[in-house]
Symmetry: C2
């Protein structure tokens, strides 16, 4: 039983991030985080899978990595080999794949393998907050390339690469989320992927392809992965089961050439990622992935429709967005006078959490009045009610949306 | 399909560890690694637990951390609160506990929270290789304190602390494995723990208590944790389910004051440790941990007996060791002319893997002819056969043991 406080303060090194706040739970209306639809977790399928896997191989849990080595459970890598071929046209074998503890560990391992303080990387101007935060913590210079409806703009990328080369800077990688871009939801067409590969080769800058939302496309149609189109080994490809099965299972993967894989393995000193989660995924996914995912995306698509309807109803023309072709998030533009960092604070006080644009962008003026809304986790009713509360807060704080929707809401 | 190689070499930063070798499987006779006894994995209990947990809460997997927050699944923290009170006399509540991906992640988070390049830490002269390797990678100066049969020697620690203070150096922590020390197997008596706490307080150096083998004691009796005896908050306590349940499940925990916990949480950017593994452990352990562990330790004790018998038979007086009071490893001294780093290479070529002493020690001359043998994973027959092969290799390479055991072996 401790009685007095030991003062750790003089022992803390410089440069630590600020201490975390105590966890106080999710907001009542939570439009943040890569959470999924609870109704779409294949609970019975997972129960049957874990039962079968444990009966067959449960004794193997006595050995780290089930004795399958540091690249992870072999049947899961075999499933991925087939899945990546079928869905993304990637030709690889189990030895080219490393299972990791979520794609976040993949980000960390790729970064540790390639980056040092002061290095430069290229990212999409709007991109995943977790990737941006990691690069900031590492002291890396981040060059953001503007996007259009087809993803990263190749004219802007060519200019940036040329400018950097003129300054003697060779970026360490080009990070892209080409297939359901986070947060904009675009899918980069095949022709643009080819152009990206051409620039990568011309400038000797590898591509870091983050395909972790790529399973969630409404019509199931997607271009080949950039990795699949490459004529050299300069593409590192990562993915995840967080979006297709369940985020609380921490299982992702990396496809990389051995030159990089062997470096990442040397840095992965965690004695393996969780074996039970790998076993249940392999057992469930091999027979059921191809039927599970379309059921999931149908449900997500309905939630997106509810969200877009609610935004139209509550914000009218004050909320601008493109209907994404897949995913779990919507990128929304509000009127220029709205500062979404301030909106975030005010909305949270009213029980609504949102992702303010500047946290998902390298361009704070472009993203100032934009926000990301995640729609997979809240119920249809929560989506409608939460967006109504958000509109009320936004109107109170910024005078928009002007239109008062209370009359219509009372009828609904 | 990649056709030509992209040359990553110019992009790799300085200071990367050497690339990993391809995984080629475990040795035929494997006496390394914290692997456990496959016969003692409570497979049926785990199946029932995961079934019950998923039926009740499987939908929750749609939300990161099951919405229990970054410190982990609440029922598992509640179990640990009761277990730590009962077994280690630690008084804490669920908010003082963070679930991590194995105690290795705990090592990383504590190190990231407290250490910078050039810092100094104090460790036991013989200690866990994974801890030593981490400190080396971080560029930290490691001061090793000699051990005796009761663990870290307090006279030597007092001298080291005094010497460091005279040189203006305040170590960042004293790392100890007090309860079934790795690799020596000793248990630090309560009176010595009190002396360690006195020195910690006098010099303002926190204690980092690694209790991850503490469940595996033959008679089930152990002193209170150092954390439990402290009169201030200067002890960080970590533990694991790897040894008590199964290492391929990657679940460990940290008990720390909020000042340190809040820093570690800010550094734990993995979106949570695997939820399914936390669920199955909470569900299984709450009713079954107290009966499972004695069954496990009885089986481990029998394997230790087999190992000690095999060593006596094959090495005779050439192998010196103390019978440990618990654990999964035996620390063995061979004659002074044996270099266990060379023995390791020769034995591996004959299908036997061992841990050479210098990899588990800060004192390479003291540990030169010592080795660690892990006994939980191999079968009784493998233990006997593997030790016979090891003796043959050692005799061939170093001329010891002199005694030829072939005659007796042929009879067995």
């Amino acid at each position: 039983m401790t009685s007095t406080a030991f003062d750790f303060t003089p022992l803390l090194p410089a440069g630590l991030p600020a201490p975390a706040a105590k966890w106080t739970g999710l907001a009542k209306f939570s439009f943040v985080g890569g959470n999924n639809d609870p109704d779409q977790v294949p609970v019975n399928g997972l129960i049957a899978a874990v039962d079968a896997a444990l009966r067959r191989e449960g004794r193997g849990l006595a050995t780290y990595n089930l004795a399958h080595g540091p690249q992870g459970y072999h049947p899961l890598r075999e499933f991925l080999t087939a899945k990546l071929k079928r869905d993304a046209a990637i030709t690889c074998n189990a030895d080219d794949i490393m299972i990791v503890s979520g794609s976040l560990q993949a980000l960390d391992l790729v970064n540790q393998t390639l980056l040092a303080r002061g290095d430069t990387v290229i990212v999409e101007q709007e991109t995943y907050q977790g990737s941006l935060n990691r690069l900031t913590r590492l002291g890396v210079n981040v060059v953001g390339i503007p996007l259009d409806g087809d993803g990263m703009r190749m004219d802007a990328l060519a200019t940036a690469l040329s400018d950097l080369k003129a300054r003697g800077i060779r970026p360490k990688y080009i990070y892209t989320i080409p297939t359901v871009q986070n947060p904009t939801g675009s899918i980069m067409p095949e022709v643009r992927r080819a152009e990206l590969l051409r620039l990568s080769e011309a400038y000797g800058v590898p591509i870091f392809e983050d395909d972790c939302y790529a399973d969630l496309i409404w019509d199931g149609k997607r271009p080949p992965a950039i990795h699949a189109m490459a004529t050299n080994s300069g593409v590192i490809h990562i993915g995840s089961f967080s979006k297709s099965i369940a985020p609380a299972l921490r299982v992702g993967f990396v496809v990389a050439p051995w030159e990089i894989m062997s470096r990442m393995l040397a840095l992965k000193t965690d004695a393996g990622s969780g074996a039970l989660e790998q076993m249940v995924l392999a057992e469930f996914c091999a027979p059921h992935f191809a039927t599970h995912v379309p059921e999931l995306t149908r449900a997500l698509r309905k939630k997106l429709d509810t969200l877009m309807e609610a935004l139209n109803e509550q914000f009218g023309t004050a909320a601008e967005f493109e209907s994404p072709k897949g995913g779990i998030f919507l990128w929304v533009k509000l009127p220029d006078n709205v500062d979404t960092l301030k909106l975030y604070q005010a909305a949270l006080a009213s029980g609504v959490s949102i992702n303010p644009g500047p946290e998902w962008s390298t361009n704070s003026s472009h993203s100032r009045s934009r926000l990301r809304l995640c729609f997979a986790s809240p119920s249809h009713a929560q989506i409608r009610e939460g967006i109504a509360v958000l509109a009320d807060v936004c109107r109170r704080e910024f005078g928009v949306p002007v239109r008062i929707a209370n009359v219509e809401k009372a009828r609904g």
